[in-house]
């Protein structure tokens, strides 16, 4: 066991962990942040996507020990003061959510995209989310939601990423 401090959603957590534990495992089983989903545990589906220092990563492939000293944002930490992030709001408004299992990862992937590229076109959006599988929506409304959120972020009608 190794003692580390993880900064998750702005809070520090002191934890004893095994060196081989993934960040996904620690988030779900030790911090009870079960909004981060496990769809394949192999880096193929993107359901476990979280932000590390603003960048989207697959937390099932990321060792928890490597996360020390970095800012981790999970889906639970995205809405601020009860107000949804523009990406979350857009997913609701355009009907980009069906079963919701890919949604946390998909939303965080989109947040990371918009931080890098605030005005992506549909092709760039499709490329950016191609590592996040969705079996319900056919991606049509997910792409629309990200386009809508991009407008909201640039027009300042919502909060921006961190």
């Amino acid at each position: 066991m190794k003692e580390i401090t993880l900064n998750v959603n702005g809070e520090n957590h002191r934890l004893e962990i095994e060196p081989h534990w993934t960040l996904l495992y620690v988030l779900r089983e030790k911090l009870d942040l079960v909004g981060t989903k496990e769809g394949c545990n192999a880096g193929d589906c993107g359901a476990c996507t979280v932000l590390i220092d603003g960048k989207a990563i697959n937390s099932c492939l990321f060792l928890a020990v490597r996360s020390e000293g970095r800012r981790i944002v999970t889906i639970e930490g995205l809405a601020q003061n009860g107000k949804l992030h523009p990406v979350q709001q857009a997913f609701v408004d355009v009907g980009a959510v069906q079963c919701g299992f890919c949604t946390p990862g998909m939303v965080l992937r989109a947040v990371s995209l918009l931080a890098e590229n605030p005005q992506p076109d549909a092709t760039e959006i499709r490329q950016a989310i191609s590592g996040n599988l969705c079996r319900c929506t056919g991606y049509v409304k997910i792409v629309q939601a990200i386009e809508l959120a991009a407008q909201d972020v640039t027009t300042g009608s919502g909060v921006s990423d961190e």
Binding site: E76, V97, P104, S130, K141
Partner: protein
């Protein structure tokens, strides 16, 4: 369409979508109980073997292990959703690679996995039964000793005069179409949490498609009274047919009893591919013919369906493949023979469309071949044959509403299909070909054969004294949005805003009985029950208001959420005030509206002839695909989909579009990418890297056209769309490929290798042609 309603017909985001975007929705694996253990299942590494003994001593002795179970810990009765051929854990034999042999509960996953490795199983290997045609021979080894020829189910029926139709046909073709096992690939793996109380009752949490149907089979498997089992629906991360039955439920239950603690089992993605219930693979030998004028002369079908090692719902899937397509057109001369065959492979089951996409791939490919043979276009042949409203089909199905013709016309018009067909001419680069293809479909809204004792649905609508409303239904939301549709229906009837309505999750202790989310039945049948329950609540509120005012109840009405006097419309009570009056009249308890809907005019089809009207309504659709085919690489790119669907009235158009888009995406995967590849019973591609489902870059823009005839039976005229959306997709892609490059692909998936092989055959002049005049 014109819409006099306030809530019904409006685009409504899912009522639970905020829970899902903030991560607070609790799915199966998110459930945690105090003292909960982690469970793992030991699976057979052999496709067919006799179990000599299972030695669990070393596993039990491992520190941290609190329970190990084998078949001896289970009731060892045979059960099944249709055919009783399963046990909770393997008893005498294992029948596929992945068959459940034992299970372990331990303090953590690593200990449970270590314990699995300590279990010794002595197997006597048997030759596996793998090929369907060989399995049916008299000398074949049997998967189940009591089933000769490995035939789990046999169907044979005739309508009209198929031989006469064949004789009189102007053109006819015979082709073999094959479809592989493909996986539902819901993003959420199956899981279960189980716990027992001291009085011997069991509580389970699991993602599923209908907790009552699940409980029925669980009670048989565990040999205990149904009401001693409480089955709670968690948020369900997609299902598409794959979560109607799962072995992990009874295994977790038995393991929790043995360990004396709550147990959670979450399947890995590999277990999902190797040991859950993928789509039934089929070999379809189809002959169809047309008269000179393009009217269908006959259809003759021989189907072999792959059951895998156990039956689950495959017999019902097989029956759908044998019958459903026939009612799309005015088709009278039909013969069908179909066998469902056991093999030592993963048991198959239901997947969106339920046997219907398989047969539509064959039938709708054939329609284009026949159109070409008589020299009419794909639009015209479908129009000429399409069923019409008021028809009773060859199988006795009464089509109370049917706008298939309109879907054909609208899809054709939106794509200008007739004028834009290319007929195998290349683009400027000389190697890329653009093509367009159409396919139509029929599906059901409900299916009488799903649960023989009963067909209908039930709901309660509870209105509290403060005017808040809760809808209770036992039907399950898998993400398709029935909670939203139920909230819309209740809000519409009561005249309250949607956010005043909560729809409770399904729970067998509290929800009224329901059959569950299968057969595209929930909006229609579940919706009718909610409609009745909301009307009952409304009538009770009106009665209380009438008594309060000292007028007869008939003098009052509900309008935009207020109780009004018909004769003095200025006299009104707001909904919360009326609800409070009604609640006070009951001594302060909420008003409970009860809705018990039973289907009328629907019959159980004859077990032999399969004749009988199975649903209160039927949905239809026509999809058009546009593709690019690269003849150097064989790669197919789908450029665009236009889908016109007859859904009855769309209660939530946003949800209907979502269903169409998702259905087409799954259909594109089925058409071009997906196949569970097997070698001697072993799944070769049990992960998303090797089993590719469509990603965001594979799916084109999809345009939905909603055709909304008011159905005479559906709630507010609504029918179904969930499964319908995937039924014609594969055939539309196949027909577009044919238009592009002039080759007819009859095996799924239509991979680059198959495209290139078909092109080589075409160049060699060996593509078979019409056998007709």
């Amino acid at each position: 369409m014109s819409n006099a309603y306030q809530v019904v017909g409006k685009r409504a985001p899912l009522v639970d979508s905020i829970d899902k975007v903030v991560g607070s929705a609790r799915f199966g694996a998110d459930i945690k109980l105090p003292g909960m253990l982690e469970g793992k299942i030991l699976r057979s590494p052999h496709p067919h073997a006799r179990i000599r003994y299972v030695d669990t001593a070393a596993a039990e002795a491992l520190p941290g292990v609190l329970g190990v179970i084998t078949a001896a810990d289970t009731p060892m009765v045979r059960y099944g959703t249709i055919i009783p051929d399963q046990t909770i854990l393997a008893t005498d034999k294992v029948r596929y690679i992945g068959d459940e042999v034992a299970a372990v509960a331990a303090v953590d996953l690593e200990t449970a996995e270590a314990a699995l490795r300590l279990i010794k199983v002595d197997y006597e290997l048997l030759p596996p039964v793998l090929d369907m045609e060989a399995a049916m021979r008299d000398d074949s080894l049997r998967v189940h000793n009591d089933v000769p020829n490995n035939i789990a189910d046999h169907i044979h029926f005739e309508r009209g005069d198929p031989d006469g139709g064949r004789r009189d046909a102007y053109a006819c073709f015979t082709r073999r179409f094959t479809t592989p096992a493909v996986h539902q690939c819901y993003l959420e793996p199956n899981s279960c949490v189980a716990t027992w109380s001291e009085n011997g009752s069991l509580t389970l949490w699991a993602p599923n498609q209908g907790p009552f149907a699940a409980r029925l089979v669980l009670a048989r498997a565990l040999v205990m009274p149904e009401d001693k089992i409480r089955f709670i629906q968690t948020f369900t991360g997609g299902a598409f047919g794959g979560k109607t039955w799962q072995q992990v439920w009874p295994i977790t239950a038995v393991l929790a009893r043995k360990a004396g603690r709550p147990v959670r089992i979450v399947l890995t993605r590999q277990e999902e591919f190797e040991a859950t219930l993928p789509r039934v693979p089929m070999i379809i030998d189809l002959s169809m013919g047309v008269y000179r004028d393009g009217r269908l002369a006959f259809k003759e079908t021989r189907i072999m369906s792959g059951n895998g090692a156990y039956s689950i719902s495959a017999p019902a899937v097989h029956y759908v493949a044998a019958t459903r397509y026939d009612s799309l057109y005015r088709l009278g001369n039909i013969r069908c023979t179909a066998d469902l065959v056991y093999t030592n492979t993963v048991p198959t089951g239901m997947f969106r469309g339920f046997g219907n996409p398989q047969m539509h791939f064959a039938g709708e490919s054939m329609m284009d071949m026949l159109a070409e043979a008589v020299g009419i276009d794909p639009v015209e042949i479908r129009r000429r044959n399409a069923a019409l409203p008021g028809d009773t089909s060859a199988h006795g199905w009464y089509l109370g509403s049917c706008a298939v013709q309109e879907t054909i016309e609208k899809a054709a018009e939106a794509t200008d299909l007739v004028n834009r067909r290319r007929g195998g001419r290349p683009l400027a680069d000389g190697k890329t070909f653009w093509g367009i293809g159409m396919a139509s479909c029929i599906h059901v809204a409900g299916n009488r054969t799903i649960y023989k004792p009963y067909d209908g649905s039930n709901a309660r609508v509870q209105v509290s004294g403060d005017g808040s409303v809760v809808v209770y239904s036992g039907e399950a939301d898998l993400g398709q949005g029935c909670r939203t549709v139920f909230a819309q229906i209740a809000a519409e009837v009561l005249g309250v805003p949607m956010d005043a309505v909560t729809v409770a999750a399904a729970d067998t202790d509290f929800s009224p009985f329901a059959i569950g989310t299968v057969a595209s039945r929930v909006t229609t049948l579940g919706g009718l029950a909610v409609d009745l329950a909301a009307k009952d609540a409304r009538d009770k509120i009106l009665a209380a208001a009438a008594e309060n005012w000292g007028v007869p109840a008939q003098a009052l009405d509900m309008e935009n959420g207020s109780v009004i006097s018909r004769s003095h419309p200025e006299r009104r009570l707001s909904f919360p005030v009326a609800a409070e009056i009604a609640s006070d009249a009951l001594g302060g308890k909420p008003v409970i509206g009860v809705g018990e809907y039973r289907t009328e005019g629907v019959v159980l089809p004859d077990p032999q002839t399969k004749y009988g009207n199975i649903a209160i309504a039927y949905s239809f659709g026509t999809q058009v695909a546009e593709v690019l085919v690269d003849t150097e690489t064989g790669r197919v790119r789908v450029l665009r989909f236009v889908a016109a669907h007859d859904v009855g009235r769309a209660i939530n158009p946003l949800g209907v579009e979502g269903q169409i888009e998702g259905g087409i995406a799954q259909g594109i995967g089925y058409a071009l990418l997906e196949e569970i590849k097997m070698d001697r019973g072993r799944v070769l591609n049990p992960d998303f890297l090797d089993y590719r489902i469509p990603t965001s870059v594979d799916i084109p823009p999809i345009e939905s056209i909603l055709v909304e005839p008011d159905d005479p039976n559906g709630p507010f005229g609504a029918k179904s769309v969930g499964e319908t959306a995937v039924v014609p997709t594969v055939a539309a892609v196949a027909n577009a490929i044919y238009d592009a490059i002039g080759v007819r692909l009859t095996d799924l998936p239509m991979t680059p290798d198959r495209i290139l092989a078909a092109l080589r055959e075409k160049r060699a002049g060996s593509q078979p042609s019409s056998s007709g005049a």
